[in-house]
Symmetry: C2
Subunit: 327 residues, 2 copies
């Protein structure tokens, strides 16, 4: 590894994080994949994620709800029914008790909505200046309803790529909360539990792979799929749902929505026989704006966006996210 | 709650942590107990713990090994065979890559020794000055070998209390590493995985409850047992194994070894019929210095130490640990 120290980019969920995992963690650990979830036993999925989002509260969500939904979604993406959560907190000395209570309340409410039980936890406190309010690690366990495989190994040339709604909302909500660009109304995070919309879709042999588009956005997912399958991907700009106000902020800041984190969006890779999966997605409240956004192909090497002008723009894996601590 | 902000004491694992759990977390969450492990399903135990020990490396161990053994021990204390771990890291920007590699290597080596697989993980990075090198959250899953209950509910008057060896080693090793009291040789942490010595003991109907004596030391365990059972406890000072050099440091610093954290020690509450459990413990390398250190009784209310002089000294639950970030 060329870099000799850890940089913010190593936590971006994109290229540098991938390098850390490939070069340091995977050779040492028994991790079957680069993912943060793993199957243990016949029907059990476990997953873990730390949350360091800044600020702790932002329009549409907060670190507590994020910690629940993020872990619920990691389980759901494997096809598992989320069942139990564990919450471990690293609190900075001086955090107002009222803030902790609010976050704990938010965790409880999100857990109720996602029908999971918080069954265990841990609390550590670090000195002022050695943390940032609170960091939360949530770990979860979920159960597969049946023998179910969802894997990049199943992805084939011609597979359609779907998304359940607009992209970029979470990242822009957090950046706006951090910098106060004075947008009215303030953009809202899309933070939501995806287990229900997933359970409406599964089991379905046409569905090959699910992945929630968090850090690194949909571009990171597409590049991972390309890296693992060797198959190219063409996304269609005109089909990718982006709210007008999110697009405007992106233009202002020079950000590309494809690379922005979401917390309630997933991509579905499925066989392209008819549009029954799209129709099912649209029936769920979290899939109203679902769309077919691209295709797996062997006509290109890598990930490309067909722009509104008809050209093919490359969307490479980036080394680092321009927006640290987005989740 | 009277305190309006979080203090270091809230992470001490003693009185204030207990208050947080009782007053904030338990009413909101579905936590069946105050512990950091929970049974889910018939034979499955899950657990989570964050590690913020300072410094990251100290004689006898480091944060990586601690994160593995701590979680392995939480599973073992429930009688479960530890099987899988997940490791989530919150790294401070600027951590040397070599340090991360060393810690990852230490995690891998400890996992091998404890016969658990690290199957998933997550990496987040926070800005310089918002962390302290690295914080690690490890979560684990383990399986009960048979229908097995280990609970404070089973503890009865007359139960013996055993420990598998000397107390205070871990805490003094860490404090000495932090302050450099110039002790030669430097005290070593007792960090060790206890799953094997536990599996040599179980199943055994005479064993009612196991608990590893981490934050808050054996005094915290005894006070929790008293709080949950209403039964008094008398510890025998002359029987509690403490290394001479640890005792000397404790005297110098005004610390009580009963309240110090260990990372390879467990207390066993068992029926007092013969000493077969003590004999079994002593057969294992981690139990060579095992001893019967006290008894559950209704002759006192609370936790007491029978001193070398023969008096009964109260050992109450303390609000806060004098040594923050010990694990």
């Amino acid at each position: 590894m060329s870099a000799e120290i850890i940089t913010l980019g190593h936590g971006s969920g994109t290229g540098l994080t991938r390098k850390l995992i490939l070069e340091i963690f995977q050779p040492l650990f028994a991790m079957p994949s680069l993912e943060d979830a793993a199957q243990v036993g016949e029907r059990t999925i476990i997953t873990t994620d730390s949350y360091v989002v800044k600020p702790l509260f932002f329009p549409g969500s907060d670190i507590g709800e994020l910690a629940v939904n993020g872990t619920v979604n990691d389980l759901a993406m494997k096809g598992a029914r989320p069942a139990f959560l564990m919450i471990s907190m690293i609190i900075e000395e001086g955090l107002p008790m009222a803030t902790l209570k609010k976050i704990a309340g938010s965790i409880a409410s999100a857990a109720r909505k996602a029908d999971v039980k918080v069954v265990a936890g841990d609390t550590k406190v670090v000195e002022k200046g050695r943390g940032d309010g609170i960091y939360i690690t949530s770990s979860g366990i979920g159960y597969l309803p049946c023998d179910l495989e969802l894997s990049t190994r199943l992805i084939r040339k011609g597979d359609m790529i779907l998304i359940n709604g607009t992209i970029g909302d979470h990242a822009i909500a957090v950046i706006n909360a951090r910098n106060d660009f004075g947008l009215t109304p303030a953009p809202q995070s899309d933070c939501a539990p995806l287990h229900e919309i997933v359970s409406n879709l599964l089991p379905d042999k046409d569905i090959h792979f699910l992945r929630d588009a968090t850090r690194g956005g949909i571009a990171a997912i597409m590049n991972e799929v390309y890296a693992e399958t060797g198959l190219g991907i063409i996304l269609e700009e005109e089909r990718i749902p982006v709210r007008r106000e999110i697009e405007a902020v992106c233009e202002m800041l020079g950000l590309d929505p494809l690379y922005l984190a979401n917390e309630g969006k997933m991509t579905v890779f499925c066989q392209n026989n008819d549009e029954h999966i799209l129709r099912k997605m649209r029936k769920h409240p979290l899939g109203r704006a679902a769309a077919i956004i691209g295709e797996v192909t062997d006509s290109v090497k890598g990930v490309y966006l067909r722009t509104l002008m008809g050209g093919l723009r490359p969307c490479p894996m980036i080394e680092s996210d321009p927006l640290p601590r987005i989740c």
